[in-house]
Symmetry: C2
C-alpha cells in the first residue's frame, strides 16, 4: 500500500505505486497476472473519472486483461477482494490482482464540504439525503442507539480515538502520526452528536493492492498467507427500515459466513482490523464480529482490551481513524495489514505472536459488509 494522506498524483499513478509494491512482494509481473479486480468509489464525482479500470490497467502493463471495477461505498475493495478470492478458489483464475485507489482530499479539486456531499451519495437518496444526513450523522444515529441500549459513554468513544491515534503513531504509512488524549478528544468541537472531531476519520488519498493466488500455487511464492474465509452480506437501507440500527446485521451475517468457512469461532481470532470510520463504528463492529460481548464494546475500549497490548487488539494499524480512509483503498489495505501482521513484517506496529486476523470493511449505512479471515499458512 501507499502511504495514506495527501497525494498530488493522478489515480492511476497512485494505484501503480501500490501495485508495483505488490508485484515486487509476490515476485510477479503483469504478464503473470490474469485479471484485475479493481475498486474505486467516488472518482466519478470527485474527479470526473469513471471507467478507471482500463486506465489503471494501461498504467500497470495489464491492458488487454479482464478488469472489473467494483463500487460498494466504503466496502469497495473488500468486495473486489471477495470476488477475486471466489474466482481463484473456483478455478476461474490462478493469479489475480486486487486493489483500490481513492483521492478524497482537496487535491481532487473538491473541498471538504463538497466531498462530504459526495460521500453522502452512499446514503439513501429519497429518504436520507433530503434531510441533510451525511455520514457523521448516520453513524451518530447508530452510536446514539448503542448508548441508549447499553449506557456507552462519550468517554468510551474517546478511548477508541486515543487507542487508534496511538497505534497510528507507530505506523509510518498512517495519515496521522500524532497521539491524542481522552481530554483532548472530549474537548473537541461537536461534528454530529455524540461525535466530536477526534471521533471522525479523515478524508485521505491512497491506494492498496494484493496478489491472490490459488492454493495449488501458493507454496511457490515466498511467505504466502492463507485466506481462510470471506463473508459478504448486505442489509436493508434506508436506516429507518432496519430493526435495530446498532446491531449492524450485515456484519453479523458476513462474519458468521467467514468464520464458518474458516471453521473457527471468534475466540480463535488473534487481532482485528475493523471499519472505524467513527469511533462508535469500531465499538459496534467489535460486538458484531463477536470479539467482545454485545454491549461491551465501549467498556472493552476503555479497559484497554482492544489496545495493541490488550487481549484482542483492534486496529493496530491505526485504523481508518488514524491510518486514514481513502475509500476505495481501505478494504484491500486491511488485507495488506493482516498479511504483514501474520508474516511478522509490520515493523514498529507489529503485534506479538499473531497468527490469525479478521478484517471488517463496511459500506454506506452498514448496507454492505465484507469480513475476511487471514491466517498463517500451516
Amino acid at each position: 500500500m501507499t502511504s495514506f494522506g495527501v497525494h498530488d498524483t493522478p489515480m492511476q499513478e497512485l494505484f501503480g505505486e501500490a501495485v508495483f509494491a505488490a508485484f515486487d512482494d509476490a515476485d510477479v509481473g503483469p504478464d503473470e497476472v490474469e485479471a484485475l479486480y479493481f475498486g474505486n468509489a467516488m472518482g466519478g464525482q470527485a474527479e470526473n473519472t469513471t471507467h478507471l479500470g482500463p486506465q489503471v490497467a494501461t498504467h500497470i502493463g495489464m491492458a488487454g486483461k479482464p478488469v472489473q471495477r467494483f463500487e460498494d461505498a466504503c466496502a469497495t475493495s473488500a468486495n473486489a477482494f471477495k470476488n477475486a478470492v471466489q474466482a481463484v478458489e473456483a478455478g476461474i483464475h490462478d493469479v489475480v490482482l486486487v486493489g483500490g485507489v481513492e483521492r478524497c482530499t482537496p487535491e481532487t479539486g473538491k473541498d471538504t464540504d463538497e466531498m462530504t456531499r459526495i460521500f453522502a451519495s452512499a446514503s439513501n437518496r429519497q429518504y436520507e439525503q433530503p434531510t441533510g444526513l451525511t455520514f457523521p450523522g448516520v453513524f451518530a444515529l447508530l452510536t446514539k442507539r448503542h448508548m441508549h441500549e447499553y449506557g456507552t459513554t462519550e468517554e468510551q468513544l474517546a478511548h477508541v480515538a486515543v487507542k487508534n491515534h496511538g497505534h497510528g503513531a507507530l505506523n509510518p504509512k498512517a495519515h496521522f502520526g500524532k497521539e491524542t488524549t481522552v481530554e483532548e478528544a472530549l474537548d473537541g468541537p461537536v461534528v454530529a452528536d455524540p461525535f466530536r472531531l477526534m471521533d471522525c476519520c479523515p478524508f485521505s488519498d491512497g491506494a492498496s493492492a494484493v496478489v491472490v493466488v490459488s492454493d495449488d500455487l501458493a507454496d511457490s511464492f515466498d511467505d504466502p498467507v492463507d485466506v481462510s474465509g470471506v463473508g459478504h452480506a448486505t442489509d436493508v437501507v434506508p436506516l429507518a427500515d432496519k430493526e435495530q440500527v446498532h446491531v449492524t446485521q450485515s456484519a453479523r451475517d458476513a462474519s458468521a459466513e467467514a468464520y464458518g468457512q474458516a471453521d473457527i469461532t471468534a475466540e480463535e481470532i488473534d487481532f482485528a482490523e475493523v471499519h472505524d470510520c467513527f469511533t462508535g463504528a469500531e465499538i459496534l463492529a467489535s460486538e458484531a464480529l463477536g470479539l467482545v460481548e454485545d454491549g461491551q464494546g465501549g467498556v472493552a475500549a476503555a479497559e484497554g482490551r482492544t489496545r495493541r497490548d490488550g487481549d484482542i487488539p483492534i486496529n493496530a494499524s491505526g485504523g481508518l481513524k488514524a491510518k486514514g480512509h481513502p475509500i476505495g483503498a481501505t478494504g484491500t489495505a486491511q488485507i495488506v495489514e493482516l498479511t504483514e501482521q501474520v508474516r511478522g513484517e509490520a515493523g514498529d506496529h507489529q503485534l506479538d505472536g499473531v497468527e490469525r486476523g479478521v478484517a471488517h470493511n463496511l459500506g454506506g449505512d452498514a448496507g454492505t459488509t465484507v469480513v475476511s479471515v487471514l491466517e498463517a499458512r500451516p
Copy 2:
C-alpha cells in the same frame, strides 16, 4: 427490461420493474436467488447516488444477499453478466440475478450539457478531457480513421441510422419509434464530424435484468437459453496510445474468447446486437466481430446485409441508436434481446429462424469490451 426512454421513477423502482419481469419469466422469487450482480455507471454523478446495490436489493426483497455493483462505463452490465456467468459456471452460485439501471435524461436533474460532461468522465482524465473531447468526438476519431483506411462514407453511416430506426420502429420498448431516411440523416446538424444528429444514440432512462442459472438446473426452468461463451478484454487508454484506433482490439480479443468458448466461428452466428452508440461504432463492431470482412462494414450496411432481412441482421432491436442507451442497463438489455430472439418471443421485431446470437457491449474509448454468445439449448 423496461421500456427505454424517459422515466420519472427513482432508480431502485425502475430497476425493480425489470427485475420483477425477470422473476416472473423465470418463475423465481428473491428467496431463490443467491446473489445480485448489479450495474450502474453514472448514478453518483447524475443523481448523487452510489452504493446503489443494497438499495435496489432492499427494493426487490434481496437485502441480506451478496450484491456487487459493477461500473465499466457503457459495458457496465455486460461485465456484471460476465462475472455472474463465470460464478455460476464455476459452481459459486446456482441462481443469480444480473441487471443494470441508469437514468440519463433531464429527469435526473441534469441537462444534456451536464450529462455530456458526465459521460466524458469515462474518457481519459489527463490527456483527453482537457482537450474538450466528449464521446461523439471519441467515436468520430475512430470512424474518421476507418473512412481514411477504407473509404467508408457518410452515406454508409446514414444507412446504419436508417436501418436501426427502422428496426426500432418495430420494438415497442424502443426510445425512438420513428423511422428516418438517408436524406434526413445526411441533412442533420453536425455533432462531431463525420457524425450528424442521426448518427448518435440518445440519452435514455431504463433498466434490464436476467436470471442466470447453472447448467444442471436449467432444464427445470421454462425455455432456458444457453450462454455458450462470454469474452472480456480491455485495451489501452488514452486513444493516442492505441496502435490503430479503428481496429477496436478489445472487441477482437473478446469475440475470439467468446467464440472459442462456444466452439464456433463468426460465420455460424445468425444475428447480432452490437454497441452502436454511434453509427460508426456499429461498422467497426461488425468487422471486429468477424460478421463482415474488415473494411466492409459500411458497404454491408449500405447493401442492406445487416438489415433484419439481410444475411447477418444487426441490431434488430433498434440498437442503442433507436432502442436507446441507458448506460448501465444496455449490456443486460442486449442479453434480454438475444434471449427473446432465440426463443422466438421478440414480437413484431422477431427475426426468422435465428438460433444463435452475439452481443457486443463496449465501454469508454473501446477500453472494455464484453462479447457474449447465446444460443438455443439443444
